[in-house]
Homo-oligomer: 310 residues x 2
Amino acid sequence: MIALPHEPFPELGSRLAQVLTKHLTAGGGTEPHLAAVIAEALARPGRLFRAALVWQTLTGLGWEPVFADSLACGVEYFHVASLLLDDLPCMDDATTRRGFACPHLEHGDATVILAALAFINRAYALIWRELAPLPQEMRLEANEFLDRELGLAGILNGQARDLRFGERPTSAREASRIAVGKTVALFRLALGFPALVGGARPAELKYLNGLCVHWGLFYQACNDLDDVGSGPKLGDSAARDAALVRPNLLLVLGPEAFTRRLDHLVRQAASNIDALVRINPMWLFLREAQEALVSGADEPVRPAVYSQAG
Amino acid sequence: MIALPHEPFPELGSRLAQVLTKHLTAGGGTEPHLAAVIAEALARPGRLFRAALVWQTLTGLGWEPVFADSLACGVEYFHVASLLLDDLPCMDDATTRRGFACPHLEHGDATVILAALAFINRAYALIWRELAPLPQEMRLEANEFLDRELGLAGILNGQARDLRFGERPTSAREASRIAVGKTVALFRLALGFPALVGGARPAELKYLNGLCVHWGLFYQACNDLDDVGSGPKLGDSAARDAALVRPNLLLVLGPEAFTRRLDHLVRQAASNIDALVRINPMWLFLREAQEALVSGADEPVRPAVYSQAG
């Protein structure tokens, strides 16, 4: 697939990796396997693409970096939890993640589930601590946002539909709808959510939502391309969509329409970014982010199967 | 074991069962298996012992019943999620819960994990919606409380240590410490948490914490007794502690010291309740709750293995 290595936000990455480690330390009393799964996940943070989006959005809107750190970390923890769970044998049955063996292989599925819950629990705690000083009305909106994107209408239902795709009819619309349910929801958490609590204007929120939809669909489509194009040479996770009967847009549309669709999604995303930059130049960082996303550099080894990866 | 059927808070139970169903409805777009797991869990709510404790505490402290409903529901959802996850093959590998087949047997482990996350996500949303009008200081305290009891220092680490108990030395102190990590944490969510956000006095919070510790240890000990005493006739989940090398206080202490310990825990709990009633007669409901707990009626079929059950 498209492959121009381009590291997004290189300086911010090391800052956020430190923050990530700081906010979830397994103390001495923590059961050793549980502590190990958490430590390994923190030691291999990937490019922290979503955390960087949160951080850039909040600091651009005037938040102090140290408060932006915590909220960025909270959103990234949700993402870490989703990766841990997605790799389980009962989900995508992956064996490697970010170049290392998946933790359930050494520490067991139960421990990985508990580690994911630790990340989720701490994510909520970090987010609600940082949002505590905000006006009640804004906190209520933020609460509804999290509930919607993380819950049955967002990530969870998307993942459930993905797992059960073989039981349903196949169409481009259906494959897109599944992508909206999961990939888009995590982009919304990384952009729409910090924009909302940072006090962005309604027009900005509208264009950000459009951007998240187009990025999410593009990202999902790239994974579909990986799955079909790479074959078994990339490892155990390649071509799993076909074996597991997962939705795959390339298989549904055919190569020509698929390429047109990728181009269309990138252009639509760029036009959303243009509109945002016209409102406020702070959104210029989104151009760099899009370049990273299109070049596949948001994740050192982009996993083939699960779309929220990275 | 001790078995005097005694239904706690019978009228409140049907009110709370309705509330439970109201706050998590899987819409038409929800993947059918995911919707089924959620619907089944809501249709078999047990006696809602923890929800009733939250509700009695909040209304006793002056909250309107309708607001108490939501917070009680939130705490109960955490409990429902823990039961769904505990029964998974990689955890306690249970086959029945509340007299019915565990949902992972029909709908698969992945769907059960997603359903548990749906309950957790909605629990946070309900809790933060109801706490939104509170002063910032109290919200920050509530946030720390949830983080501590749900996180690595509470339920998660307790469960991890329980699963890995075979790898560690056995002692009464160790078995008690594990019980404190998980069972006590869920009692604290059901009593200490609503007392905190309801504005109970520091002395009340202190005695409630003592009560939670003694109830938690008692509850865990009863499960240990069930496991050892009942043998396979109670179903697949009986005697699993021994097979899975779980901590079991009866096996560690022997029958005589174990009985003395049970008596001691009940008397200590009663003396905490007495102290609370002297401060405020509203805590009288705790006597009824203790009677239910001691008679085993907090759960129609008390599960043998996992201590947060019910």
